[in-house]
Symmetry: none
Subunit: 207 residues, 4 copies
């Protein structure tokens, strides 16, 4: 009954974000011009400026929207005690959050040089830094810290490369299955960080 086929108050703003996100992901932030975005939407460049103050502002809005799950995760983690179990859970949730917020983080990942001096770049990097900080919270011993770092690197960069250079194509299973398998490895690495066994940095046989 009465689906409004055309929202009264224009939905252009959201359409811009959606289109821009697609283009930023596929061509890169810098290489996507406002003209391209506008043309893809069938509006004028000036229309973009009615809805957003600058090009960066478009990415900023995208970052805010898609980054929310990670922000909430950070907020959650900040209220937990920094126990091994909290970290295991944080890693699990981060892996899941990343999977859903993939596009924005891919933009950060693939346009670091460009985003370096943009405020939105800082926003994005800050989230990653916060996760990393929380994963290391309270850890003192160097060997242990490196295991944590390895676990975070595995989950974070694994997310971007599940279908890329690092996991050969013949790889079996869906992206989701592979994500979980990789998370499993990361959790395993993490376990080693908090078990009494000597950390590998001190083990004699790796040098």
């Amino acid at each position: 009954m009465g689906s409004t086929p055309q929202a009264r108050r224009s939905d252009t703003r959201e359409r811009i974000q959606k289109t821009a996100l697609d283009l930023f992901v596929s061509h890169g932030y810098e290489k996507t011009s406002l003209r391209e975005i506008a043309e893809a939407l069938g509006v004028t460049k000036a229309a973009l400026y009615y809805h957003f103050k600058t090009k960066e502002d478009i990415l900023s809005a995208i970052s805010r929207d898609l980054g929310r799950p990670v922000d909430e995760l950070i907020a959650w983690a900040e209220e937990q005690p920094p126990t091994p179990e909290t970290k295991r859970e944080l890693l699990r949730r981060y892996s899941a959050a990343l999977a859903s917020a993939m596009p924005v983080y891919r933009i950060l990942q693939e346009n670091q040089a460009t985003l370096r001096d943009l405020a939105v770049g800082r926003e994005l990097r800050d989230r990653v830094t916060a996760i990393s900080r929380l994963m290391h919270a309270g850890d003192l011993e160097s060997g242990c810290r490196m295991r944590v770092t390895s676990a975070v690197l595995t989950v974070h960069f694994g997310a971007f490369t599940l279908d890329g250079a690092f996991t050969p194509d013949e790889e079996a299973g869906t992206a989701e299955q592979r994500r979980e398998a990789l998370l499993g490895v990361a959790l395993d690495t993490l376990s080693g960080a908090y078990s009494p066994a000597p950390t590998p940095a001190l083990a004699p046989d790796h040098a």
Copy 2:
């Protein structure tokens, strides 16, 4: 014995590469203009075109020069049998090679969107892919493959982030020490891939 007139043949080409490398690393490939490079060198833009065909060609030359150690590593690995010990050694050497070729790989890492459709981008990515492929050579079981992937991710991305978002500042030791510690963790993860113990992907407690 005397100045070798041959050796004095303009070193401009090398100076261009050096300066360009510095700027590509610090500002990014796209955001570094030929004007900047020329000005930093005290020559004209046109001079750059005397020595290189295009902007991309400059990066290409850099990539060839700095990528050689990794190329040699790949060539070496391709002649070894794909044993666990070969892979351990490959990972060790890759970690070392990365440390010395850091600048080029950082350029790849931070300008992926820009380099995506450039030939030089492919060159750079191919090296990474080759290492990854060799590390996975002969592996069949999924759980095992993921451990390998994790180890490679740890070594590869650890190299870029030893002083960044993923390893908190208070981290002790020099960059070199941290690299080795991280390599230790990666080797440890790798060990799990080839030991008889059940791989974590199959363990019941991670879901």
Copy 3:
């Protein structure tokens, strides 16, 4: 009597004029955008177009309102005989009128290039021309005319520069006092125009 509902008829039009005037004076006509005016008022650009037909129309209304004293002065002078005493009085009154209508004339003064082809620019210039014409009315001799010109220039441009480049900061007195002092000099110059003494243009010692 109560609240006169008539009187409450939106005062927006006047608020627009007032705000626009302030901005035109402080940033210049060209460099003040309708967006700025609208934002300063807390309304939309479209609202401005409800009250005024164009941007120029806003300045036009301002010009009409603030220019009235000068218009009346011109009307008055046109009915006087062109005697020296009339001119003295005209100069006095012009000096006073300028002081109160300063903002509009400052806009004319500082945006001549922009207002050159606008109708409102002509309106504004016409007032100045009329004053000048009336001051010269009936004068025939060149030397005399130049004294009049100097007197008008002194009063007119003195008004804009009482606190600017032409009167050093250490200058004593209020702006009002300085205006009167300058008017005094102008009147003095004017006196020379109608006294029997030889006008300086003919004097032998200035060449």
Copy 4:
């Protein structure tokens, strides 16, 4: 003799300045676009940027070139003792310098709002301020100062308006003749500043 019809090293830079000056004078600085300048010259906008860093830089070069006579005048005056005769001579020379540098000062005069926040605007204003300062040097008494101010205003603004609103068209003589006549009036006003007679500001009959 061999007049080189085409200078070897392109004279484009000077042609740009010349064309820009014309357009700045006739349309105003803001309203003259780089496209216009380029088209008038038969070159591309980019060519302008080869010769000048910015639009402002073009005006800056013009200002430096045309402003030189005034700069030299200021330098000269700064080495003279601040006697009445020095000031008379300064006024004479300023009148002459203005006549030759007219175009630039007209640009300043007619685009004040635009040039307000530009560095080149300051350059231009500084010259005027310097002349005014030197004309007032050593003067203490208010009435005297106002005569000086009037003299400077007359010479300075007279230069812009010899053919404009302030001197009616029917005015006899060439622009040069009128300039000298006006200078005569200004010198006369100046004389009053340094004669023993009471200054008009104190005279009882002007209020």
